[in-house]
C-alpha cells in the first residue's frame, strides 16, 4: 500500500503556501468538463460541493437524508475553533496547532494540523459573510468561549446549535450553486459502492431509497464526506442513519482504513435510561465551562444531590487536574467518570452517571446568564429526563461521539486509491487519538471550503475529463454485486430483526472495544463478532419489497458493514499496544491510571488494507514525524 503523505517541503508555516503555489491548476474553461461526485452533505460535503461548483466543476452530491440540510453536522452544539485571537488572550495559529496535536496525544500529522489551524480564521470570515448568526457581544463583535483542552477562548458559537447554523450556511452556499445549475443533488440516495477503473475511483453505485432503483454514476473523481462510524456501537450520539458503508465499501476496494480504534467517548451525555434506548444525547461540552463535575465521596450514597454536603462531594476533575479542572480534554474526563462509577460512586438509578452541577455558576452570574448561554441545552435535558437542571444537577455519562479514525488520506486529502478523496470525519488526518472540542466543525469546513478546492487539481490535471461511460465491465460488476447483496439480504428471511443484531454488536463493541480495552477482551470481541456475523447472514429478517422504501433493507446493508468493520476496529485496538487519547489499553497505564504512550513503537498511523472475504486485513504503517513539537507526556494537571 502506497502511503506517501506528500507533505510539502519547507518550514511548517510555509508548507501550505508552498503547496498551493505548486499545486496543479485546471484551466477555468476545462473545469466544467470535469465531473465530481460528492457523497455526503454535511459540513465537509456541502462546503466542498458548493465551492467546487463555484469554481466551475460539474458537481453532483448525494445524501441519504431527504434534504442536504439534515446531515448530522447539524447536531453539533458547542462551537467551532479558530485562531483569531479576538480575545487577546494569547491565541495564535501555532497555539491552536499545538493544542490540537497535544490534544490528539501526538498521533496526528503535523503538517495537516498546522494547515487546519492556518485556515481556521478564514472559516469564521466565510461563515460570518454567509449570515451565520454567531454569538455577539453588545459592541456587535463576535464573542468566544473556552472549550475543553484549551486555555484560551477561541471557540465561536451560535447558542447551543453551532452545527445547525454552520450547516445552514454551507447548505445556502450549496443552494446557490443548485439554483445556478452548477450542482445537482440526489437526496434519499445511498452510495453502495465505489467503482474503480484502472485502479482510479471513477464512479459510484447508488440506491434510490424511495424507488429502490440501483444506478451508476460516472465521474472524474469521487469525494467521500460521509462522516464517522460511531454507530458501530449502536448507542452513540450519532444520528440513526449515520453509517460506515461508503467508507467501508471504499476500504473493500483497496482504500486503507486508518486508526479505526481511535473513537471518542464524549464525557457529557445523558445517561442511558433503559433497554428501549435507541440513541444517546450529547450535552455540549461547553457546559463544563460553568458546570462542576462531582460524585459523592461515599460508595452507594443515594441521597438526593442537594442533601449531600459540600465536604462529602468529590469534585474529582478539579482534584486530579487542578490546572484544567472541569475543562480537561474529553478522553480524560470520560475515563475519570468511568473510574468513579466503577468504584461504585456513580449516581442515578443505574449508577452509571456523575453530576454536572450549575449551582455555583447560577449563584455567581445568575440564572438568566446561564439560561442565555445554555438555555436550549437545559431545555433539552429537561425534555429527556423530566428533571430541572436549574434546580438539580444534571446527570451525565460518557457516550460514543466522534471517530478520529477514518480512511487514510495524504496531504491532498486523497486516499491511497487515486481519485478517491475523503473529507471531514470520514478521513483520519487531523485529530490523532483524541479530538478537542469544537474542532470537528473546523476540520469539516476547512477540508471542504479551503483545502479540497486547491488540492483537487493535483489529481484532475492529469486526468482526461469525461473518459468514463459507465458501460465499463467494472461498473457492471459493481452494480451486479450491489444487486446480489440486496437480493441475498432480503432473501434470508431469518428470525431476527436487523436492529437486534445491531444492538448485540453494539454491546460487544462497548464491552470489548469501548472506554477501556485489553488484549483478552479484544480477542474475545473479534471472536464474538465473527459468530454474530455468521449468524447474521443466516438469520436476519428483512421484510418488504426491495423496489420501494424499505427501512429494514437500508439498515440491513449498513449493519452488515458494521459487523465487518467492528472486527477491523478490534484488530486495530489489539495491535496498538499502548494507550493514547481515546484508546486506552488497560495493560498500558501509569501508576496513577493515566494513559501510557509508547512513542518508540507506536508513533505511527495504523492503516488497514483489505485482503479479501474472511481474510485478516494487513497492517501498514505511516510513521509520524514531529519536527515542530516535542513529544511529551500529556499533562493537564
Amino acid at each position: 500500500m502506497n502511503l506517501d503523505a506528500k507533505i510539502p517541503e519547507g518550514a511548517l508555516e510555509d508548507k501550505w503556501k508552498n503547496h498551493k503555489f505548486s499545486s496543479k491548476l485546471v484551466n477555468p474553461a476545462n473545469k466544467r468538463k470535469y465531473k465530481v461526485l460528492v457523497v455526503g452533505t454535511g459540513l465537509a460535503g456541502a462546503s466542498a460541493a458548493a465551492t467546487l461548483g463555484e469554481l466551475g466543476y460539474q458537481v453532483e452530491t448525494f445524501c441519504y437524508q431527504d434534504s442536504p440540510r439534515r446531515a448530522h453536522s447539524i447536531a453539533a452544539q458547542g462551537g467551532i475553533n479558530a485562531a483569531k485571537n479576538y480575545q487577546n488572550d494569547g491565541d495564535s495559529v501555532f497555539r491552536l496547532f499545538y493544542d490540537t496535536v497535544k490534544g490528539g496525544d501526538f498521533r496526528s500529522r503535523e503538517a495537516n494540523v498546522y494547515r487546519l489551524s492556518q485556515v481556521s480564521a478564514d472559516i469564521i470570515d466565510q461563515c460570518a459573510a454567509q449570515g451565520v448568526p454567531f454569538a455577539r457581544d453588545y459592541g456587535g463583535l463576535l464573542t468566544n468561549r473556552s472549550f475543553g483542552g484549551a486555555q484560551v477562548s477561541r471557540t465561536f458559537y451560535a447558542r447551543g446549535q453551532t452545527g445547525q447554523q454552520l450547516l445552514l450556511g454551507a447548505y445556502g452556499a450549496l443552494n446557490r450553486q443548485i439554483d445556478k445549475g452548477a450542482v445537482k443533488v440526489h437526496t434519499r440516495t445511498e452510495m453502495l459502492d465505489v467503482v474503480l477503473i484502472n485502479g482510479h475511483a471513477k464512479g459510484i453505485i447508488t440506491r434510490d431509497l424511495t424507488t429502490g432503483e440501483i444506478k451508476r454514476h460516472t465521474a472524474d473523481t469521487v469525494i467521500l464526506a460521509t462522516g464517522g462510524y460511531g454507530n458501530v456501537f449502536f448507542l452513540s450520539t450519532n444520528a440513526k442513519g449515520c453509517n460506515v458503508t461508503a467508507a467501508f465499501r471504499a476500504y473493500k476496494k483497496g482504500a486503507g482504513y486508518a486508526n479505526p480504534c481511535f473513537t471518542q467517548i464524549h464525557p457529557t451525555c445523558i445517561p442511558v435510561s433503559g433497554e428501549h434506548q435507541s440513541k444517546l444525547t450529547l450535552m455540549s461540552e461547553s457546559l463544563r465551562n460553568d458546570g462542576r463535575v462531582w460524585v459523592p465521596k461515599k460508595k452507594g450514597d443515594n441521597r438526593a444531590p442537594g442533601d449531600i454536603p459540600e465536604n462529602e462531594r468529590d469534585y474529582y476533575l478539579e482534584r486530579k487536574y487542578p490546572s484544567f479542572g472541569n475543562l480537561s480534554p474529553r478522553d480524560i474526563a470520560s475515563r475519570s467518570a468511568k473510574e468513579v462509577c466503577d468504584e461504585g460512586r456513580g449516581v442515578g438509578k443505574t449508577g452509571l452517571g456523575v453530576y454536572l452541577d450549575f449551582e455555583d455558576a447560577i449563584k455567581r452570574v445568575g440564572q438568566d446568564a446561564i439560561s442565555e448561554r445554555y438555555g436550549n441545552l437545559f431545555h433539552m435535558y429537561q425534555k429527556i429526563t423530566a428533571e430541572n437542571p436549574y434546580q438539580r444537577p444534571m446527570r451525565i455519562y460518557p457516550a460514543v461521539h466522534y471517530t478520529m479514525g477514518g480512511l487514510w488520506v495524504d496531504y491532498n486529502l486523497m486516499s491511497n486509491v487515486p481519485g478517491l478523496h475523503v473529507l471531514g470525519e470520514a478521513n483520519f488526518s487531523d485529530h490523532g487519538a483524541n479530538r478537542l472540542g469544537a474542532s470537528a466543525l473546523m476540520q469539516g469546513l476547512a477540508d471542504g471550503y479551503f483545502v479540497i478546492p486547491y488540492t483537487l487539481g493535483n489529481y484532475l490535471a492529469n486526468e482526461t475529463p469525461g473518459s468514463i461511460s459507465g458501460e465499463e465491465a467494472e461498473f457492471k460488476e459493481a452494480e451486479d454485486a450491489v444487486r446480489d447483496r440486496i437480493g441475498i439480504l432480503s432473501g434470508i428471511q431469518g428470525e431476527r430483526s436487523v436492529d437486534s443484531f445491531h444492538k448485540e454488536l453494539g454491546k460487544i463493541m462497548w464491552d470489548r472495544c469501548g472506554m477501556a480495552r485489553n488484549k483478552q477482551g479484544l480477542e474475545k470481541g473479534i471472536q464474538e463478532i465473527g459468530q454474530l456475523k455468521e449468524e447474521y447472514w443466516q438469520n436476519v429478517r428483512v421484510l418488504g419489497e426491495t423496489e420501494n422504501i424499505n427501512s429494514g433493507l437500508e439498515k440491513a446493508g449498513r449493519v452488515a458493514d458494521f459487523l465487518e468493520f467492528g472486527e477491523v476496529m478490534c484488530r486495530d485496538a489489539l495491535a496498538r499496544e499502548e494507550s493514547c487519547g481515546g484508546h486506552f489499553r488497560e495493560e498500558h497505564q501509569t501508576d496513577e491510571g493515566e494513559a501510557k504512550r509508547d512513542d518508540e513503537k507506536f508513533c505511527h498511523v495504523s492503516v488497514w488494507g483489505y485482503e479479501g472475504e474472511n481474510k485478516e486485513p494487513t497492517l501498514h504503517k505511516e510513521n509520524l514525524e514531529y519536527e515542530n513539537v516535542k513529544l511529551s507526556t500529556r499533562s493537564y494537571k
Partner: protein, 251 residues
Amino acid sequence: MKITLHVWRQKNKSAQGGLKKYLVDEVSPDSSFLEMLDQLNEELIQNGEEPIVFDHDCREGICGSCSMVINGRPHGPEKGTTTCQLHMRSFKDGDAIYVEPFRARAFPVLKDLLVDRDAFDAIQQAGGYVSVATGNAPDANALPIAKEIADNAFNAATCIGCGACVAACKNSSAMLFTSAKVAQLSMLPQGQPERSKRAIAMVEEMDKQGFGNCSNHLECEAACPKEISGDNIALLNKEYVTAVLTSKDKK
C-alpha cells in the same frame, strides 16, 4: 404502559392508505415516542408484518426529519418539542393515540408516515442564501452587528425545516418556514444586497410548490417545535410587497 395506536399505513405514493390499529404493551414512560414505535416495529417484524416507515435521524430535535402528526398535532402534545424528543411520560397508561403523516398537497406521502418535503428545499434554492463565494469574505469583525439584530436573526434561524408549520396549517401554507428564512437574512447586513430579489424569488417558489395561503391563524407558530414567531410572517408580507413595488427587476 399500555398504548393503543392508530397508525397511518400506506404502501406507496399512489396507494390508498388507512389507519391501522396496534396495541403496544410494556412501554416505558422514559422511552421516546420514536422508541415506542421502534418497539412496535420490532414486534411487527417478529410477526412478519412490514415495520412502519417514518423519517427520523438525529433523534435530538435538530435535524428536522421527524414528521408525524400525533393526535392531530404535529410532533404531538408537548409545546416546543419534536416527536423524537417527545417522551411517553406525556401520555397516560391506556391512551389511544392517532399517528398520521404531515398533510399537505406539497408534501405527498411516500409511504406510511414518510412524506416528501422537497418543496422546502426548492424554496431555499430559489434564494435562501447570501451570494458570497468561498474565499471572498472580509474579516468577520469588520462588520459589527448590533446584538439585538443578531439575536433576532438567530431566533428566525433556529428553524429546523421540519414542516410542522405546514402540517398544522388548515391551508397547508408554508409562510412560517419561508418567512423565517427570509427574515433571518433580511435582518442581517449580509443579506441586504439581495434582499428584494430573495423575497420575491422565495415567495414565488413557495406559491409554485402548491402550498396554501396564509390566513393568519397562527396555528404554525403554536405547532412549531422551535417556537418561531409568527411576527416573521408579518415581516415577510412587508418585505415581499415592498420588494415587488420597488425592485427594478423585470418580474
